[in-house]
Symmetry: C2
Subunit: 407 residues, 2 copies
C-alpha cells in the first residue's frame, strides 16, 4: 500500500494561500509521501474524485517560486459545507471510500472557519470508524478572524496592500486642495481587522486616514455626518476607511439602506455591498463637498503584486508544520501562529485542537480603538506592523507579473 | 535680473507626473536657472501667488528618486480653465505681472488637453504683448488621448497596472469553478486606451479577459447580454473589461440608466460612474449566474507601486526635453513622443505646435478592434506592450512604499 497525502484549498482566495500549498507539498515530499494529491475545488471536487498529482504539476523550483507569487487558490476552491455526519453518513462513506482508493494517510485542508469545521467533522467521523487517516487544518483568511492563532496567513499581505493603496489614495485625494471626501470600503463582514489596517498608512510621508469605521462599533449615520463636517473644517480632503460590514444600532448593515441593496440576482441573493457608495451619496446630499466612493473589492485579497514576505514565509511555514505534525501522528488539529515578541518580531507555530477553532470568530479588541471610535491605538499598530514587513519581489515577465501556469 | 523658471501640474493625477516634474527641475537647474519655482495647485495657485522654490524642496538625489516614485501631483493640481484673453484680459495682466515679479523666463505646464490649452493661450497673449517668456507644454494623461504624440506619459504605467490586476482578478474569479460574471470598470470617458489595456493580460499563464467594451463602439445592452450568455456556455467564469464611458446608440452614457446616476451632490454634479455595477445588476437579473462589479477607480491612476520604468523614463525625458527647448528659445510648443520602432522599441522626443494639440482627442483606431467588437487586435498589442516594460522598484520602508514628504 502506498503512503499518500492529499491537500485542498477552500473559502475565499488570498495572496498567500498557495504558499501554504507549497509548504504542505514540499514537507510531504521531503518526509517521503509517495504521492501528494491536490483536490480540485476542495472537498466538493474530491466528492467527484477530481484530484491531481501535485508532484507532476510542481516539478521544479521555479514552479514553487511562481506558486508562492500566484494569488487565488491554485487548486480552485469551494464554499461547500459538510453536513453533519449523523444526518448524512452517506456523504462521509463516499468520501472515505475515495480517500481509501487514493491510499491517503494524511489529509490537509487550507482555509478559514468553514474549512476548520470540515477538518473537525472529518476527523470526528474518522475516529468513529477507526480510520488511520490524519486530518490537519492549515489556517488561511485575509479576515484574520480565526481564534487561537495570533493572526492568520493572508492577513499580513492584505493589510500591507491596504496600507500601500491608502497612502496612494490619500495622495490622490488631496491633489486639488478643494473640499473632497473619499470613502474607501474595505472587506470584513464582522471583524474589522482589515479596515483597521488603514491606520498603518500614517507616517512621516502621509498624514493617514481621518476616520476608521469598524464593524465592531455600532454605526450612527447622524454622528458620522457630524464627524465628517467637523473634520472638513480642519482639512479640505477627508479620507475615510469603512468596513463593508458596518452595522446600524438595530443590527442591519448600513449598505442595506441603499436602494441598490435590494437588487436580487437569479438565485435570490441580495447584493450586500455598496457601503462606501451609500455613505458617499449621503455625505454629498448633506454637506457642501464633493465625494468619491472607492471599493477595494477583490483586489485586496488577490493582489499578488504586493505581498508581505513575513506573511508568505509564515504561510509556507504553517503548511510545513501541518505536514510535520501529521507525519508524526497528530490529527484533528490546526496549526496556529504563536507570537513570542513584537520587537524584534518572533513567531512560532503550535498545534491547537480543531474543535476549539471551528465556527468561532475573533474580533478586534475594543481597547485597541480610541475613545471617540475614529482611529486605532498603538497596541494595534504594534500588533499589525510586523506582519507587513518585507517583500517577496514579484517576477515580472514582458511587463507583467508572472504566475504559475494552470493546467 | 534673475533667470528663473516656473513649473506647474494640472488635471488628474498620474503615477508618473512627478517624474516629469523631476525632469523639468533637473534640466532647468543644469542649464543654469537661478531658481526653479513650483506653482502650488497649478495656474489657479499661481493667480494667488502660491509658489514654492523647488530647489529648496528637492535638495538631494534621494528626494528626486522618491519624487519619481510618488504618485499624484506633488505640487497639487487644479481644474481651472483660463478664460479667453479677449474677454478677460485682467486675468492675463495679473498673471504676467506675477510672472514678471518672479523674474520668470521659462514657463512649463505638465498636463493633458486643458493644460495644453492653457499653454496655448498664455503663449498667444505673451506674443501679443511682446513678453520674452517661453511657454512649453509637457504631456501627461493616463487617458492617452492627446493628439500628435505617439502616446502620453502616464499611460504606460496605468496600462501596466490594469494588465497586472486583470491577471489577478481573472485568477480570483475562476476559483470556484461555478458560473460567475465579473465586470471590471476602467477609466476613460471618450477614448478606450485604458480599457483596451485589459487585452495585455492574456498570456501563457492567463487566458485573458473575455470581452472588452470601448467607448468608441456604441453599446447595445441586448447584444451585450447575448454575448455574455454565449460566452458562459463555453466557460463558467467570464471576465469583462468595460469603459466607464460606454455609450448607448443615442449617445447617453450606459451608467445613466442606473438609478444611482441620478444622485446629485450639493453642487448639482450628477454622479456618472457605476457602469460596472449597472451592467452587473443587469446580468444578474437576466442570466442564471452570480455577478460582481469591480471598479478600478482612482487606483489605476495613482498606483505608484506598479509603474512602468519605460513610462517613468519617458516622463522624465519629456520634462528634460521641454526645458532644453525652452532654454534654446522655443515657445508655444508641446514635447511629443515619436516612436521610431516597435521591436526593438525606440522612441524619441520632438516638438509640436501647441495650437495643433489643444482641445483635441485621440481615440483608439477602429481597425485595432476585432470584427465582433469584443477584443483588441495584434496592432494594439504591438503598440501597447513596449510601454509597460520594466519596473522602477518602489522603495519600501517599514513595510510600505515610501513617498516624498510633503511640506
Amino acid at each position: 500500500m502506498a503512503n499518500n497525502a492529499i491537500v485542498g484549498q477552500s473559502g475565499g482566495p488570498t495572496s498567500v494561500i498557495n504558499a501554504s500549498l507549497a509548504g504542505v507539498f514540499q514537507a510531504c515530499q521531503m518526509r517521503g509521501a509517495d504521492h501528494v494529491y491536490g483536490m480540485l475545488h476542495g472537498i466538493q471536487g474530491l466528492l467527484d474524485e477530481k484530484v491531481c498529482d501535485l508532484g507532476q504539476r510542481l516539478s521544479s523550483f521555479i514552479d514553487i517560486e511562481l506558486l508562492k507569487r500566484t494569488p487565488s487558490s491554485f487548486l480552485g476552491s469551494c464554499r461547500y459545507k459538510l453536513p453533519d455526519f449523523k444526518d448524512h453518513e452517506d456523504v462521509y462513506e463516499k468520501l472515505f471510500k475515495i480517500l481509501e482508493k487514493l491510499e491517503i494517510r494524511w489529509f490537509f485542508y487550507i482555509g478559514g472557519n468553514d474549512s476548520m469545521d470540515t477538518i473537525n467533522k472529518l476527523s470526528q467521523y474518522g475516529k468513529q470508524i477507526g480510520s488511520p487517516i490524519r486530518f490537519m487544518g492549515v489556517p488561511k483568511t485575509i479576515d484574520n478572524d480565526l481564534m487561537l492563532t495570533d493572526h492568520t496567513p493572508g492577513y499580513g499581505s492584505a493589510a500591507k496592500y491596504i496600507g500601500v493603496v491608502m497612502k496612494e489614495i490619500i495622495r490622490d485625494a488631496t491633489v486639488y486642495g478643494t473640499n473632497f471626501v473619499t470613502i474607501v470600503e474595505v472587506m470584513g463582514r464582522n471583524a474589522g481587522w482589515l479596515t483597521a489596517a488603514a491606520a498603518l498608512a500614517r507616517g512621516e510621508d502621509c498624514e493617514g486616514v481621518d476616520l476608521i469605521c469598524l464593524p465592531e462599533i455600532p454605526f450612527h449615520t447622524d454622528r458620522f455626518l457630524e464627524k465628517v463636517e467637523k473634520m472638513q473644517k480642519e482639512r479640505a480632503s477627508v479620507v475615510i476607511a469603512v468596513s463593508e460590514g458596518v452595522k446600524l444600532p438595530d443590527g442591519r448593515f448600513v449598505c442595506e439602506l441603499s436602494d441598490d441593496a435590494r437588487t436580487v440576482d437569479a438565485f435570490g441573493h441580495i447584493n450586500l455591498n455598496g457601503t462606501a457608495r451609500y455613505l458617499s451619496n449621503l455625505v454629498a446630499r448633506n454637506l457642501p463637498t464633493r465625494t468619491r466612493p472607492v471599493e477595494l473589492s477583490i483586489l485586496q485579497r488577490c493582489a499578488g503584486h504586493v505581498t508581505s514576505r513575513t506573511d508568505i514565509t509564515e504561510a509556507f511555514q504553517v503548511g510545513g508544520a501541518a505536514a510535520k505534525a501529521a507525519f508524526e501522528g497528530e490529527t484533528a488539529k490546526m496549526v496556529a501562529l504563536k507570537r513570542l515578541s513584537n520587537d524584534p518580531y518572533q513567531c512560532t507555530t503550535e498545534l491547537v485542537d480543531i474543535d476549539r477553532v471551528a465556527n468561532l470568530e475573533k474580533k478586534v479588541p475594543l481597547d485597541w480603538i480610541n475613545d471617540t471610535r475614529t482611529d486605532m491605538l498603538p497596541p494595534f499598530l504594534a500588533y499589525a506592523r510586523p506582519l507587513i514587513q518585507a517583500e517577496l519581489t514579484p517576477i515580472y515577465i514582458n511587463g507583467l507579473t508572472q504566475h504559475i501556469v494552470e493546467e
